[in-house]
């Protein structure tokens, strides 16, 4: 499949009183057409900020200080954040579903008003056509009696239903890319499963690509085709889902997989926590940011700067000096 979006060396910083927070620090990734990609990392690793940067939704004190976002041959970062060109992309060709379905809908507007607004703005539909399309979209995402519920307010909907509305909004303008930022974190397990299935079906139906931003490795194992693992503002490992889970090579990825309890685990399995804490993004060392927590570290790691991504095989890349496969079985403290 052809490449749809390419992000090169993206850098986003926040100026705060205590210093410059390098939330995203040289991030590069790509998304192919009709692909489901997982972006995985813990809180504060820059996964949400990177997606907001792609959409140019970074507000002061945040600032995109470098890099490019190539979409359909154009660099989106050259567009003015609130200019007309960016507005034809944002919400229309690249749409986003936010984490909190409770707060991301406007409480004083009906569901219908919020859905119709996008259709009129981006698709240049008439009021009647937009309303008809909105009802269609609502029933498509599984909202029962959509024609009656279109005039309800967000508080009439449960969390799961609101997230369905968000999905309908995201899909309303036939986007090329749908970015789902922790789409199911605030929801119950069975609702989460319903919505993820729905999203998968919908992006297939609309021939769109889906970016799932999450901290849940299970979710990406089930749905994603390719995965990027992020740590401290950068990608530390990328590859197909089977590469990442079958042959994890970066110490952080290995650590993550060892520290999560699994539903099908054997009895008596001991979790191996990753000791220490994620780094402070204000005073980042020039060496590997994972170094203080790494159990595979060698002497070189403390001397040299953070390595570039290097190929393991095929599409599988890691940002590490150590061949963890050879060292597996003898991790040292």
């Amino acid at each position: 499949m052809a490449e749809l979006l390419k992000v090169n060396n993206l850098k986003t910083q926040f100026r705060t009183e205590s210093g410059v927070v390098k939330a995203v620090d040289g991030l590069s990734y790509y998304i192919d057409e009709q692909e489901i990609v997982g972006l995985v990392g813990e809180s504060g690793c820059g996964k949400s900020v990177s997606q907001l940067s792609v959409m140019q939704l970074i507000n002061a004190p945040g600032e995109i200080v470098g890099g490019e976002v190539i979409f359909e041959g154009k660099n989106l970062l050259e567009y003015e954040a609130n200019g007309p060109q960016m507005r034809t992309v944002r919400g229309a060709k690249i749409a986003m579903i936010f984490q909190e379905p409770m707060t991301s809908l406007n409480p004083v507007l009906t569901i219908g008003q919020q859905l119709v607004e996008m259709l009129i703005l981006h698709m240049k539909m008439s009021d009647d056509a937009a309303r008809k399309r909105a009802i269609e979209l609502m029933s498509m995402v599984g909202i029962p009696a959509a024609a009656n519920r279109i005039d309800d307010y967000p508080h009439h909907f449960s969390g799961g239903m609101r997230q369905r509305v968000m999905i309908a909004m995201g899909l309303s303008c036939n986007p090329k890319i749908l970015i789902a930022d922790e789409p199911t974190t605030a929801l119950d397990v069975t609702t989460q499963a319903q919505l993820l299935e729905l999203m998968k079906d919908m992006v297939q139906r609309f021939h769109a690509s889906l970016v799932i931003v999450t901290h849940n490795l299970g979710v990406v194992a089930r749905y994603a085709q390719r995965i990027y693992i992020m740590y401290a503002g950068r990608i530390v490992e990328s590859g197909t889902t089977k590469d990442i889970f079958g042959n994890p090579r970066h110490p952080y990825t290995i650590g993550l997989l060892q520290c999560i309890p699994r539903l099908d685990e054997e009895e008596g399995r001991k979790l191996v926590p990753i000791e220490g804490l994620p780094p402070n993004l204000i005073s980042m060392p020039s060496t590997c940011a994972f170094l203080p927590r790494c159990s595979y570290k060698v002497e070189k790691c403390a001397r040299e700067p953070w390595p570039e991504l290097s190929q393991v095989e095929g599409n599988h890349y890691i940002r590490c000096y150590v061949n963890t496969k050879e060292k597996a079985g003898e991790p040292k403290k």
């Binding site: 799961g160 397990v189 069975t190 499963a193 299970g218 539903l263 990753i274």
Partner: protein
């Protein structure tokens, strides 16, 4: 888990907790929210019982009833042989030194204006177990060490700690009076993945070290519950629908809700995921204000028959302590 395992520390019989819904100026009662509606289970010494279910199923309410924070509408709660549901506030306070609670949110459950040492030591003072100043300080320092915190940090304030460290403070506070029972209410769901394992391991180590410590572990994350629990109870709309040994529940879930719940949790392994059964439930959890007749799960159940809407199934033992509340099993 070991020699004293036949003793029950907690024995809950037909517990009901209804919250009245009032309306109007006179606070007229118009309905009841049946948060917990007839729940019975036992917790042995040294055992960890996991209580899982989706939000609103009543799992937290049970935890609060056990701690005597709610007065149950009906039912009995035997804690170490005494029915604490009938206790006065004064007697409850004495019993409470023997039980503790670890909260979900390590950010809001610690007083921001109290030093970490004083947070951990406060239960000792409340229960008059502090002794001399020296004994008190020694005890607090020991508690810090037990949970893996540096005792030199007793004078710091909560905001100076990370999320994981704060939860360690919460654990230390729970341990202060040497309780026999700790109710852990979603103790790790607010933490990052790599930090969660640290707290889980800490809780497990403590149980190995402390004789007769039992956990009532309330969580919605089934993988975590499986990892830490000896037995698991699955709740739906105020009822326990299935309860058995953790391993059996995950290998051979029988209640359709348990099966759906387990299949909804993705496993971090694409090779396993390829061949897993996926049951996607229809609809959402009904409101406990107006629960369905018969089996509470029947409107969403993929195995339901006519009869399910008429009779409320009882929990029945189908061998090896595996109890299920479903007429189709």
């Amino acid at each position: 888990m070991n020699q004293r395992s036949d003793e029950n520390i907690l024995d809950i019989r037909d517990l009901k907790m209804y919250f009245p819904v009032t309306r109007g100026l006179l606070r007229r009662k118009v309905a009841d929210v049946k948060a917990v509606d007839g729940v019975s289970f036992k917790l042995k010494k040294d055992e960890t019982l996991g209580l899982v279910g989706e939000s609103g199923c009543g799992k937290t309410t049970i935890g609060r009833c056990v701690l005597g924070l709610y007065k149950p509408t009906e039912g009995r709660i035997f804690f170490e042989g005494e029915d604490i549901a009938t206790f006065t506030e004064k007697r409850l306070r004495q019993v409470r030194s023997n039980m503790a609670l670890i909260f979900q949110d390590p950010y809001s459950s610690l007083d921001p204006r109290q030093s970490a040492g004083s947070i951990v030591g406060e239960p000792l003072k409340i229960h008059q177990m502090s002794g001399s100043k020296r004994e008190y300080n020694d005890r607090v320092e020991k508690l810090f060490r037990v949970v893996g915190l540096d005792p030199s940090m007793t004078n710091r304030f909560p905001h100076e700690f990370s999320g994981g460290q704060r939860q360690r403070i919460g654990v230390a506070r729970a341990l202060a009076c040497d309780p026999d029972l700790i109710v852990c209410d979603e103790p790790i769901s607010a933490l990052d993945v790599s930090i969660q394992a640290q707290i889980i391991n800490l809780l497990e180590e403590l149980q190995d070290r402390v004789q007769g410590l039992s956990y009532l572990f309330i969580a919605h994350d089934l993988s975590v519950v499986r990892h830490i629990s000896d037995r698991v109870a699955v709740m739906y709309l105020g009822h326990i629908v299935e309860i058995c040994k953790a391993r059996i529940l995950y290998e051979n879930p029988l209640h359709p809700y348990t099966r759906a719940l387990l299949s909804a949790v993705p496993i971090a392994d694409p090779f396993v995921e390829e061949s897993r059964e996926r049951i996607i439930l229809k609809g959402e959890v009904p409101s406990p204000l107006n629960p369905p007749s018969g089996c509470p799960f029947h409107p969403r159940c993929f195995m339901a028959v006519e009869e399910c809407s008429q009779t409320l199934p009882e929990l029945r033992d189908i061998g090896e302590g595996h109890e299920v509340a479903c007429i189709r099993v």
